[in-house]
């Protein structure tokens, strides 16, 4: 264990807010929701009409040179975000090789290919896509990234539902800190706004029938999203050797599991992940200035997460700026943690906590109000991003300001 420091030198995002990190950050900062009306021809009994999707026109505009016959859109999203991140990091062909890992998570993998082929496979007259398996497999995006750049270090695909990408970033951080690798292309990708997956979320009763309003008393569910968030992480030494611009430090990481109920969150698991991240970063409660909450807008998550934050931050909780940006970009499941870490990094850089849009009224069971209206100025060296997943998987990342290095 070298305990190397780990820094972010490039970020990329392809989200319902549009192409690039600027589109994601400005939408989050200004509270502009990417919720759109969606209607699936294959779902005759569809009730919920809203999702934060990536329209075909937006994807097509950025993927004309992709190998569509071999790649589901989940891989396409990841390659678009990876290109932005790698370009910003200024990595050259010599910077990849076997010192560079790829750790990119996904919850569903190639959901569109799966959906289309499910509808086709019972019909003997319709040819199933012979590339179904390589397009659907959850690790396809990670492998395509490694092939695109010649990154020959370890490839991992972490699939832990809504914690997939936060845990991917966390695992990258741990491998970098240990000295096992020098740099890593990491994050998550999800392309789940397709008929079958949408309907599956609908019948789980966690999609809001109208609009997503985390922490509000009248909240009634989440907004399904999709997209990809990719980060280039490297050891501080590697970044300094290359003369790279350092955007922020990964200052701490904590991950735990509830080992309880598959769907109902346990605040103790969430609190323990945050506490471990705080200890890892060597921070006391008052030093974190903003928390980008998991904040799905479901009854259970928002109560559990608040209880956990109160336990971890104690008296400092009242002065902590908290918001959920999911009503803006949607809940991107396996890409959520990466997109939100990128927003959190921008909060730190610009010293602004983005608002929780759509917030209505205080819920006595929650007892606090998130940042509302306009982005709130903050003065802090550290920001937190939380992800909590079905299966009881909790992951918390703490980012530190680059000026501290």
């Amino acid at each position: 264990m070298t305990n190397a420091r780990v820094v972010i030198t490039g970020v990329g995002a392809f989200s319902p807010c549009g192409y690039g990190v600027d589109a994601l950050w400005s939408s989050a900062r200004d509270g502009v929701s990417a919720a759109r009306t969606v209607q699936f021809e294959t779902v005759p009994n569809q009730h919920v009409k809203t999702a934060a999707n990536i329209p075909d026109a937006l994807f097509n505009a950025h993927s004309s040179n992709f190998k569509h016959r071999f790649q589901d859109r989940v891989t396409g999203f990841a390659l678009i975000a990876a290109d932005e991140a790698v370009t910003q990091a200024g990595l050259t062909p010599d910077d990849f090789g076997d010192d560079c890992a790829v750790i990119v998570g996904s919850g569903f993998g190639g959901a569109d290919t799966l959906d289309v082929n499910y509808l086709a496979y019972a019909n003997a007259n319709v040819r199933m896509d012979p590339m179904s398996i390589p397009k659907i497999m959850t690790n396809a995006a990670a492998s395509w990234i490694s092939m695109t750049y010649g990154a020959r270090g370890p490839v991992y695909c972490n699939s832990t539902a809504c914690s997939s990408s936060s845990q991917s970033i966390g695992l990258a951080y741990l491998l970098l800190r240990s000295g096992a690798i020098k740099r890593c292309i990491t994050g998550g990708t999800e392309a789940c706004v397709v008929g079958g997956v949408f309907r599956a979320w609908e019948v789980l009763r966690v999609l809001s029938p109208d609009f997503c309003r985390p922490f509000s008393r009248d909240r009634n569910g989440m907004l399904l999203g999709e997209g990809a968030g990719i980060l280039v992480l490297e050891t501080l030494e590697s970044a300094q050797e290359r003369g790279a611009t350092i955007l922020a430090e990964i200052a701490g990481y904590g991950t735990t599991s509830d080992a309880g109920d598959l769907l109902r969150p346990d605040f103790r698991g969430a609190a323990s992940a945050m506490s471990k991240a705080m200890t890892d970063a060597g921070l006391s409660a008052g030093q974190v200035g903003y928390a980008n909450a998991h904040g799905t807008g479901t009854v259970a998550n928002d109560i559990s997460e608040t209880k956990a934050m109160r336990e971890v931050f104690g008296d400092s909780f009242d002065s902590l700026a908290v918001s959920s940006t999911k009503p803006v970009h949607g809940h991107a499941l396996g890409a959520a943690g990466a997109l939100e870490t990128i927003i959190t990094m921008n909060s730190l850089i610009h010293q602004l906590a983005p608002p929780s849009v759509n917030y209505t009224t205080l819920d006595p069971a929650i007892g606090f109000e998130p940042v509302q209206g306009e982005a709130r100025p903050i003065q802090t060296g550290f920001c937190l991003s939380n992800s909590f997943a079905f299966g009881g998987v909790n992951a918390s990342l703490i980012l530190g300001h680059a000026s501290r290095l």
């Binding site: 009730h47 029938p209 009248d218």
Partner: protein, 90 residues
Amino acid sequence: MRNDTTEKSKLEEDLLDLVAEEGMIDRASLQRDALMADLNIASADFIMILMAIEEKYGIYISVDNEMADLKTIQDLLTAASKKIREKEQG
């Protein structure tokens, strides 16, 4: 008024049938004042009940605070029939 009351109780009786079937509880022993927790109606069973309501009445009910706070079978019947009537009228 009387008709309304009759319709209301018919709806609740139908819902009781549905809860018994989805919750895998003996219909005869399903008391309105029973606590759902005591009947071992867990979060997953509750989702199945809401699914059956969608199939039977064509309405979508997500889990909000009102649904999350239900304690007894009667609470569930009252909340579900209220939402069904709201949707039917709206």
